[in-house]
């Protein structure tokens, strides 16, 4: 059965390998030059406060080029869309196509139970789906390494920003691509088995998977591990390294003091009465709407403090593990549902 699955899967496997190879060539051509730009930028030798400006300069130069922003976005898009593409083109037709062309009858009247038939097909194609997506992610992580380091050192531009906890980076880096790929593939397979027609199953797969991809960072990921909370003085205050810098537009924290690389889930300023405020109070806003010289210091002297709930950087891998586990669990559940359906429905 493994050999039959492979025989049927071979054309798709060839396409996937070709796509991986093309992506690898693109990264291999541009990657070393990106690394040498990083080496020349002096970021590896910077200390303390000077790093931020060097990192910003490095990223701004990158963004001004014609190549790197394109590869950067293309890579992210590829990893984000790969699971959906796999779910649509590998998952949805896996059973639906056999039902449509009635070849399921041929397969299921050989000397093999349909459970075994399904398990082998799901395992082989599912593992391939996970391998392809994770391979994309690993290759991209190698290429993206200098940009990631610069962002960690405090650099950001309109395009190159976010860090590894950002919605896009978290779902394209680490091990989460494994979970997304497995889930999308199983979803496509089940949609095909239930709907029994390939094209509608493809559409349903796309809609549900896209919804899952949006719902995860918005509503699920922030609750996977109860965030830590801290209340900090608002800076910049000379001599107080624990004071937190704010985005004065909505008074949200830019970073968590003493927690470099932490993921800020929510933050807000609290006035001396203990109420949350989201706009700069008049006393600190300066004349005629113009900002005061140092609104942070002003807020601090007025008795405002910033409350932040966040996940420390050390929770990156636990969060990755939980998110991946959720999607792998969903994938297994869907595969079980598919198996049950094929054995129960029998038509």
């Amino acid at each position: 059965m493994i050999r039959l699955s492979w025989l049927q899967f071979r054309p798709q496997a060839v396409t996937a390998v070709a796509a991986l190879a093309a992506f690898a060539v693109l990264l291999a051509v541009t990657g070393p030059r990106l690394a040498s730009r990083y080496a020349a930028s002096g970021l590896s030798r910077c200390h303390g406060g000077s790093c931020g400006s060097v990192a910003i300069a490095f990223l701004s130069q990158l963004q001004a080029t014609s190549t790197y922003p394109v590869v950067y976005l293309l890579g992210l898009a590829l990893i984000i869309f790969a699971p959906a593409i796999i779910g649509i083109f590998w998952g949805a037709p896996l059973i639906a196509r056999e039902l449509e062309t009635r070849t399921s009858i041929l397969a299921w009247t050989q000397s093999i139970t349909r459970t075994r038939w399904l398990v082998v097909k799901l395992t082989l194609t599912g593992l391939a789906a996970m391998a392809v997506t994770e391979a994309l992610s690993l290759m991209y992580a190698w290429w993206d390494d200098p940009i990631g380091k610069a962002i960690d050192l405090g650099g950001s531009t309109s395009l190159l920003r976010g860090g590894r906890f950002s919605s896009l980076d978290f779902a394209t880096g680490g091990i989460t691509p494994l979970g997304y790929a497995a889930f999308a593939f199983a979803l496509g397979t089940v949609a095909g088995a239930l709907i029994r027609r390939t094209v509608p199953a493809m559409a349903v797969t796309l809609v549900i998977f896209a919804a899952a991809q949006v719902a995860m960072p918005l509503w699920v990921r922030p609750h996977l591990i109860a965030p830590d909370r801290t209340t900090a003085a608002i800076g910049p205050v000379p001599g107080d390294s624990q004071a937190v810098g704010l985005d004065y537009g909505n008074l949200s924290a830019i970073a968590v003091p003493g927690q470099p690389g932490a993921w800020i889930i929510s933050s807000g300023a609290i006035n001396p009465a203990g109420q949350q405020v989201s706009t700069l109070p008049a006393a600190c806003a300066g004349a005629a709407g113009a900002k005061a010289d140092n609104p942070g210091q002003c807020l601090n002297s007025q008795g405002y403090r910033e409350t932040i709930s966040y996940e420390p950087a050390s929770r990156y891998w636990p969060l990755q593990g939980i998110e991946t586990g959720i999607f792998l669990g969903l994938a297994l559940g869907l595969a079980g549902c598919c198996c049950w359906r094929l054995n129960r429905r029998r038509s």
Binding site: R3, L7, Q8, I105, A107
Partner: protein, 297 residues
């Protein structure tokens, strides 16, 4: 006599419509059985139940003494050629033989190769490019090379032209003679099966109207024609199956075990087709005249 296919009160419903309802029959071993009935009689559903493609809604079915498709071993004992003779369009003919060998422990590769050779199929050709007749032959080859004890064919020749039809049945009969396989062929046209089957089951609306060996059926059915007469006056043991009357004349198709001695009748033998049509004709369906099953169940 052990049954290759036995059902009791078998029913299959899709939502609220019954595709097969309360079907009780037994098909004996060692025959080429023609399963004949009008469209919608439940033939396809019966064969799909027998191959485990469907699960019964009611009743029981056993194939070669076991529930259908319960294990790889049970699946190996039954060969099936579906109505659409599905093959993998993208795979080559040779790939089909390979997958047959992979999936069936009892696969007879030599037989498969030989048949493909005799049929003149190019092993490198994609199955999607085969003609309907060639595709049916490939599907049959796959079913035969499994070396099943029971071969089920659902309307195998319905979509074939007369030449391909004859060729298909010839290949089938050769293989059956060679391996002593029991065969059940379904069709809505008795003419398709007349040449090959030695046992006939007429199925109408899930119900067996008549079942028996062809030779015995032919020996026990007669056409009588003579002066107009009420069939109710026939002697005991002569059951009218079909009757037609003109002003002066009566024509009957009767079932009887005894010779007809009444000199008023002109007695002629009936063909299998006439016989099957008489049993299939809804006008002849009066419950009192339904024969008991021809086979012990």
């Amino acid at each position: 006599m052990s049954a290759v296919l036995e059902t009791s009160g078998l029913g299959k419903a899709y939502r609220r419509t019954w595709a097969l309802r309360d079907c009780t029959l037994a098909i004996p071993q060692g025959h080429v059985v023609g399963l004949v009935g009008p469209n919608g009689a439940g033939k396809t559903t019966l064969l799909q139940l027998a191959t485990g493609q469907l699960m019964p809604t009611r009743g029981t079915i056993s194939v070669l003494g076991a529930p259908p498709a319960v294990s790889p071993a049970q699946l190996a004992r039954v060969g099936f050629v579906a109505q659409e003779t599905p093959v993998y369009a993208r795979l080559r003919v040779a790939d089909h033989l390979r997958l047959g060998a992979w999936l069936n422990p009892g696969w007879d590769g030599e037989l498969a190769q030989r048949r493909i050779g005799q049929l003149g199929l190019d092993p490198r050709q994609r199955a999607g490019a085969l003609s309907g007749g060639q595709r049916a032959q490939l599907a049959l080859t796959m079913a035969l090379a499994k070396r099943p004890e029971l071969l089920l064919l659902d309307e195998p020749v319905a979509s074939l032209d007369p030449l391909a039809r004859r060729e298909f049945l010839r290949v089938l009969m050769e293989a059956v003679a060679e391996h002593a396989t029991s065969v059940v062929l379904s069709s809505h046209l008795i003419a398709d099966l007349e040449r090959v089957c030695d046992y006939l089951i007429v199925l109408v609306a899930s119900e067996v109207r008549v079942a028996g060996e062809v030779s015995e059926l032919l020996a026990t059915h007669r056409r009588l024609s003579g002066p107009r007469r009420d069939p109710g006056t026939l002697p005991a043991g002569q059951d009218p199956i079909e009757q037609s009357h003109t002003d002066k004349q009566t024509t009957l198709l009767i079932r009887t075990r005894e010779p007809v001695h009444d000199p008023a009748w002109t007695v002629t033998p009936v063909s299998l087709e006439e016989l099957a049509l008489a049993y299939m004709n809804p006008a002849n369906d009066t419950p009192a005249r339904r024969p008991r099953l021809g086979v012990a169940s």
